[in-house]
Symmetry: C2
Subunit: 298 residues, 2 copies
Amino acid sequence: MRSTQIPLWDDRDTGLLTTYLLDATPTVSDAGKRPAVLILPGGAYLYTSDREAEPVALRFAAQGFHAFVLRYATYYKHFREDGLPPVVDEQYAFPQPLLDAGKAVMMLRERAEEWQIDPARIYVCGFSAGGHLAASLGVFWRQSFLCDALGTTAGNVRPDGLILAYAPLDYVHMAESMGEVSNEAVKQTWTMVSQALFGTANPTREALERWSPVLHVTADTPRTFLWHTGEDELVPAVNSLLFAQALAAHKVPYELHLFQKGPHGLSLADETTARPGIPADPHAQTWFDAAVRWMKMT
Amino acid sequence: MRSTQIPLWDDRDTGLLTTYLLDATPTVSDAGKRPAVLILPGGAYLYTSDREAEPVALRFAAQGFHAFVLRYATYYKHFREDGLPPVVDEQYAFPQPLLDAGKAVMMLRERAEEWQIDPARIYVCGFSAGGHLAASLGVFWRQSFLCDALGTTAGNVRPDGLILAYAPLDYVHMAESMGEVSNEAVKQTWTMVSQALFGTANPTREALERWSPVLHVTADTPRTFLWHTGEDELVPAVNSLLFAQALAAHKVPYELHLFQKGPHGLSLADETTARPGIPADPHAQTWFDAAVRWMKMT
């Protein structure tokens, strides 16, 4: 395996791509061009979570995928211990993360020959905010605001498939349901995400709609695999149900696994990603094998 | 195992319950009261499918469930080979199948001591029309039209959990989408089901709403496991998405597995239920193990 870190931009301090490139060998039959998966960790656009990065890349690599982890732009540079507002960097607010994600898919396509990637099988797998980012790429890939900023044509930016893990996909619904939430931590997270995504803690309906992938699904949206837990308090599972409905309405093939139990942020839900409050879950962890079977379908 | 056939009614030629009762033994630790599952095969209310009956009962029995298959009332007595309209029996039109299903759950509760059933863990698992029937029991169990006809209180009829396989749950949506359908076999099935369910090939909106479980979900609906395939042409997967949304809105715990591929009527999707046009499917067949894990959750 060749694991290296590649900055996406010459002129920006964001967008760091880590490769997990499988060695080529003539001794196994699928050693030619392989599918690739770009992993977008979550972290509420405040940071990118280690739990949704390398462990996920290694599981995909073990299944024969070239894997990549993207540390995309996050708006909050760092949190202060003294309770003062966190240090932010306005230029890294949304849609900079989307430019990073698009740039990373472009790089995978540009270097497909060198890296022995099948350029028609580039998946993007995002968790939580990273799932929102993956879905955004899936619905905005042909829009000029994105392609022009990247200086490319839409085809280079389009993912061939999306894997969306407990992703916020309908911010109109999110904002409405926030009125019923009593959990202070959830409210606080929402405020911070709003700041990073919309530049304000109280976004207008227009702003909410602008960055709600569910409202921008078309027949050109890539096939999509979604999973979620019904007990997710931070991002209600209804986000995935509504996105599945939008895909169905546009006849885009999709798959959805919605487990009754489990908190937000399960990642692989196995021992490699467990942490206090988020134990391994033998039932929910079946999402990964289901996703791989789905990715390998022809 | 004790497998016997028990008629539900003294005065009606319908509702035949087949038991698959596990032997009691003191040599294994869970040999006391066991959970039970009542299986309602599909068949568009025209017949009850063998493919969704005994093979399913045996898989559940092998997992430690007392299993039961109910051959509920079907409106079409038999089809004629001469192309004439099928012979129907009006008294077995809907809601007679629902009375049968409710009567069967009552019998499981009444004979719980004799059969060593845990009366708080009686699941109802229905396929296609049988899924509609299971869901109907799940939403109508406390309504007087059902309890009065059965001469019992609501608690005896309520399932403790539902397993709904590719079930039509929203007939308003079904009727609307039928306008876009070009497949003649699908149209013809719809006409026959309409006759059996609504007594007419052109039901009113009121009639469609009356027997659409999705519109009658409440906080008292039992926890539910749903699965479906995105390619289902006979019963669009949106039925399951909408039912999941209704459950979520009423905070009823649920689980949903929606596989991208596979036709209507997969049953177990393994070799025991495969038939021409409906081959075994290694991916979709994972629904069964997921359902058992979900049923065993505490």
